[in-house]
Amino acid sequence: MPQGPVDAVAEAIDLVKVYGEGENQVVALNRVNVRFQRGSFTAIMGPSGSGKSTLMHCLAGLDRITDGRVILGGQELQSMMDAQLTRVRRDRIGFIFQSFNLLPTLTAEQNIVLPLDLAGKKADRAYLAQLADSLGLADRLTHRPSELSGGQQQRVAIARALITRPEVIFADEPTGALDTRTGTRLLEFLQQSSRVHGQSIIMVTHDPKAAAYADRALVLVDGRIVDDIQRPTVDSVNAAMARLEA
């Protein structure tokens, strides 16, 4: 994909996130500077407590930052009021969480079109059918989450993340609760979305095998980016993690 120096879909500038006050203060993100290219698939990695989930939350407008700037799709998020931020999440971002992605009272199809529904828009039926097909959900659309397997639930979440054709998809340990085979298929799908369809994806993971599907792997430790691996492989990621132990 052609990459221009200014074609960043998401960016963090001097990003600082602090939890708590005074003595109990925790600096989760310590002046992070990073830029994400449009159409890229980036993995954010790091040990527990490194701030990787926090970085994702801040980039996605799920949490307020303490200092710095967050730019998403050309918009500065830190100065937005809650209502506007909510709309950004609704219309321009897609989410996939590790578990508990779906509303139990809605069917798979209703879950998929939920962001559109909240915006008062009607779904593009053709696109919906296409997504359902490519994710293997065509015959499960009328089922409720309790009637779907873990893998199917995650696939419904992906469909939902894609239905609004968002600027960025944020995925937080999307394969964490899945068995290996299902997890692999899911990662393959994400990779395809990015490489073939140009969908920007930012994924938080602790699994080097998952990171290997991405174009780039960032390693965070104690709220700072300590490593930036282009075209990560399982080996290069493992090596980077081993360097941390030293």
């Binding site: 909510t86 709309r87 609704r90 578990s99 992605n101 009272t105 962001p115 939902r160 340990e173």
Partner: protein, 825 residues
């Protein structure tokens, strides 16, 4: 174990808040009524004993004795004074009069000023009334009227001066003012009198009392303390009746409270499945787990109960301050309060039993499984459906039977039994249809966007929970509606009958005087309205038209009667009465005079006139209406003897009725009052008071039921925290979440209220019809009414309360952070 329970409650007070409120309200109800009634009793008792405090012996008319009581006070006093051991004897007179100053009029009891020895209160300003035309007012009365010593007032329309203010405490039930003895003595002993006796120092009171009893016939002399205790016991008995009446409503409030508590515990336990699973995995037996929860139930009952006692105490204090009983002291019946607290605790534990028993079903593995939201769409038990179905069929059959059987088969019993079964079937079967109802309503509002669709699905997702929340409302609302429809229908039915049979609004006529024996002392006595009566009647409020009646005495077949003639306004004042022609006499139906028969009347002046009888509805058979010229022929000097009125508003007779009532008292009942408006007024005031009181009492149950709605919502939101966070992350606005909760609350409240509305109305109609059949009245007379404003009002209140109930849960849901609840645990 209790310590753990305390920890649990302390850390999550919000979860049990609604339960505490429900228990507190129920217990407060019981406590408040106990304290209030006891304080009232004490107050009345003290007021009474104060009045007899300066007497050693009290002598009262004994209506059960074969001899009539001696009527002449002077004679009686002399007899009493002559009894050995008696130092002094005194007569206390009492009556009723109107007291007016400016445009304020009070209807009060009156009391004679006791002689110095027998006074039980003191003068704070001025002096005691001595002569006719003087009055002494207790402080509160003077304040009510806005007068001080020296001001001029009117007693029964006669001018008088306030010569003094006394310190008598007055209460709601006992308000009086002082008139000098002369005011009572002038009417020849018609006023009611009690007698007090002081004994010589050193004499035995009981002995003297026995002496008096042997000497004086028709009276009962009692030692003062004994009298006070007896009177107090009678009083207390009367007040205690209220206690038992309240008991029914207290039980109802408790019942509704129990539904709430059971609901709460079900939800709490579901939420803590992981905790329970953990306990079980670690080795706790299910018995130990259950005991843990029982300890919490006990604690909740205790705390809620104590709160209720405090709340009840405050309410009772306010109530007795209002009635004036508080000034005599605040009485706290500790035993009753202890029982109330115990009831609160026991009820809480009983209500929690079933949910707690279900904890045995939680497997230890629950500790490890992630908690899916607690909305298990359980297939509603088939057994429940069958049982409720059978009950419903039997109940309906019994209700139908009650509509057709004769009075000997007791239709009321059939009706009540059938209705009870139907109620049980409807309430117990709620989980079967409430979800469907909610979804049905949901379809109506689905067009409004995802918020309402989500709300519908949320409210219907747990049919059991939605049902039990709605049931509490159904019960409470249903009863109130039944009450209102029943009362409105009865009122309308009776009103129609009154209008039909008593078309004349109000007629006041002076009667023939009679002495104690009851026979007319001489022929052609003068009959005339007293100036007081004239003034009061001619200025009665709420009268659209009036006709003054003049009349005089005549004889007819040897009996003395009064003939009346109206003035030019007769046809306006009594449009239903035929205006008598010169050869007619209009007499009320139902007497010995037949329509069309001829009667001959003879006047004092010796003239005779033969008149044709025309009977009419609305006046009594004692009244004979003639034309003015006929009257002039027979009676040389006709006097004003009465009035006929047409009311401007038949329903608004309260003021007029009060004035007329006190007039009757002061006229020693020689004034006769009749007419449909009086009856309507009486009917309305009785029914209104009844309705207000009962609605208020039932209102407590409704309040608790609505607390239940808040409860269910609040706890559900806690469960759905992750869903709320997910919705926020996906882009739902905060206000939308609040709206969602609001709609859920409204739907629940609506479901409960609708069923209650329909059920209550049917209940009322069927029961009324059965009652009519039971007392052998044709149900054709029954008119069913529902006051649309009252019903809409109820719906509005339910909606508003539901909306309020959703505020806090809505806020909690809206504030859910998109990140927090989604964090992996």
């Amino acid at each position: 174990m209790l310590r753990n329970a305390w920890q649990e409650v302390r850390q999550h007070p919000g979860r049990v808040f609604a339960t505490l409120v429900a228990i507190a309200i129920s217990v407060a109800f019981i406590a408040a009524s106990s304290i209030f009634l006891e304080t009232e009793k004490q107050g009345l008792g003290k007021q009474l004993s104060m009045q007899t405090s300066s007497a050693d012996i009290v002598v009262n008319p004994d209506f059960s004795s074969p001899e009539g009581p001696e009527q002449d006070p002077a004679t009686l006093l002399k007899t009493l004074a002559s009894v050995p051991g008696v130092d002094a004897a005194e007569a206390y007179y009492g009556g009723m009069s109107s007291l007016a100053h400016g445009d304020k009029t009070l209807q009060l009891q009156t009391m004679s000023v006791p002689s110095e020895k027998f006074r039980f209160s003191t003068i704070t300003e001025g002096r005691w009334a001595e002569k006719l035309g003087e009055v002494t007012l207790p402080e509160d009365v003077a304040k009510d009227l806005g007068v001080k010593a020296g001001d001029k007032v009117e007693v029964d329309a006669q001018p008088a001066t306030v010569v003094g203010i006394s310190d008598d405490p007055s209460s709601f039930v006992m308000k009086y003012f002082y008139l000098p003895k002369a005011a009572f003595e002038k009417d020849g002993g018609g006023a009611f009198a009690t007698y007090a006796v002081k004994v010589k120092p050193g004499t035995d009171r009981v002995e003297v009392a026995t002496e008096i009893n042997s000497k004086v016939k028709g009276f009962k002399a009692q030692e003062a303390e004994e009298y006070r205790q007896e009177t107090f016991k009678d009083l207390a008995g009367g007040v205690d009746v209220f206690k038992y009446m309240f008991g029914v409503f207290q039980a109802l409030a408790l019942l509704v409270g129990m539904i709430i508590i059971a609901n709460t515990f079900t939800i709490l336990i579901t939420q803590r499945r992981r905790q329970i699973g953990l306990l079980r995995a670690v080795g706790a037996s299910s018995g130990q787990v259950q005991n843990q929860f029982f300890a919490e139930a006990f604690l909740l009952g205790l705390i809620g109960g104590l709160l209720g006692l405090v709340l009840g105490g405050i309410i009772a204090a306010i109530g007795s301050a209002f009635t004036g009983a508080l000034q005599f002291g605040y009485r706290v019946p500790f035993l009753d309060l202890g029982i109330a607290l115990a009831i609160g605790i026991v009820v809480t534990i009983i209500a929690a039993v079933v949910p707690i028993m279900k904890t045995t079903r939680v497997a230890p593995l629950e500790a490890l499984r992630p908690v899916l939201s607690a909305d298990a769409q359980k297939r509603v038990s088939r057994t429940r459906a069958i049982i409720c179905g059978i009950l419903l069929v039997i109940g309906v059959a019994m209700a139908i039977i009650s509509q057709f059987i004769g009075k000997d088969a007791w239709p009321v019993v059939w009706a009540m039994g059938g209705l009870a079964l139907i109620t049980i079937a409807v309430l117990a079967g709620a989980p079967l249809y409430v979800a469907a109802m909610l979804k049905g309503v949901g379809k109506l509002i689905a067009g409004f966007g995802p918020t309402s669709r989500l709300a519908t699905m949320n409210s219907a997702r747990n049919p059991q929970r939605a049902a039990s929340t709605a049931v509490a409302l159904m019960l409470a609302m249903g009863l109130i509606v039944a009450l209102q429809v029943g009362t409105a229908s009865i009122r309308h039915t009776i009103q129609l009958q009154i209008d039909k049979h008593y078309p004349v609004d109000l007629i006041a006529t002076q009667q023939l005087p009679f002495d104690q024996g009851g026979a007319t002392p001489d022929s052609y006595p003068t009959v005339k309205l007293s100036p007081n009566a004239q003034k009061t009647l001619s200025t009665l409020p709420n009268m659209k038209a009036k006709s003054e009646l003049s009349g005089g005495t005549v004889t007819e077949s040897g009996t003395t009667r009064v003939l009346y003639a109206g003035d030019s306004n007769l046809s306006q004042a009594a449009p239903s009465l035929p205006v008598p022609a010169d050869d007619q006499v209009v007499i009320g139906e139902g007497g010995s005079f037949k329509d069309g028969s001829k009667r001959t009347y003879q006047g004092k002046n010796g003239k005779t006139v033969t008149l044709t009888v025309k009977t009419a509805k609305g006046i009594s058979a004692e009244i004979g209406l003639v034309s003015a010229s006929t009257l002039k022929t027979l009676v040389d000097d006709p006097q004003p003897v009465g009035y006929i009125f047409k009311a401007a508003d038949r329903g608004d007779m309260g003021d007029a009725y009060a004035k007329v009532q006190s007039l009757m008292f002061s006229e020693n009942f020689e004034l006769n009052l009749d007419g449909g408006a009086m009856m309507s007024s009486l009917l309305n005031s009785v029914l209104n008071v009844l309705l207000a009181v009962l609605t208020g009492l039932l209102g407590v149950a409704v309040a608790i039921a609505l607390v239940g709605v808040a409860n269910t919502l609040g706890l559900s939101v806690i469960e759905r925290q992750r869903e709320s966070s997910l919705l926020r992350a996906l882009g739902m606005q905060r206000t939308s979440l609040r709206w969602m909760l609001l709609i859920e609350a409204l739907m629940l409240a609506l479901a409960g209220t609708l069923v209650g509305l329909i059920g209550g109305t049917l209940f009322s109609v069927i029961l009324l019809r059965a009652v009519f059949r039971n007392i052998d009245l044709s149900t054709d007379y029954l008119r069913y009414t529902m006051d649309p404003w009252q019903t809409l009002g109820l719906l509005a209140i339910a909606a508003v309360c539901a909306a309020l109930a959703s505020i806090l849960p809505g806020r909690r849901a809206a504030l859910a952070s998109p990140t927090e609840a989604l964090a992996e645990d």
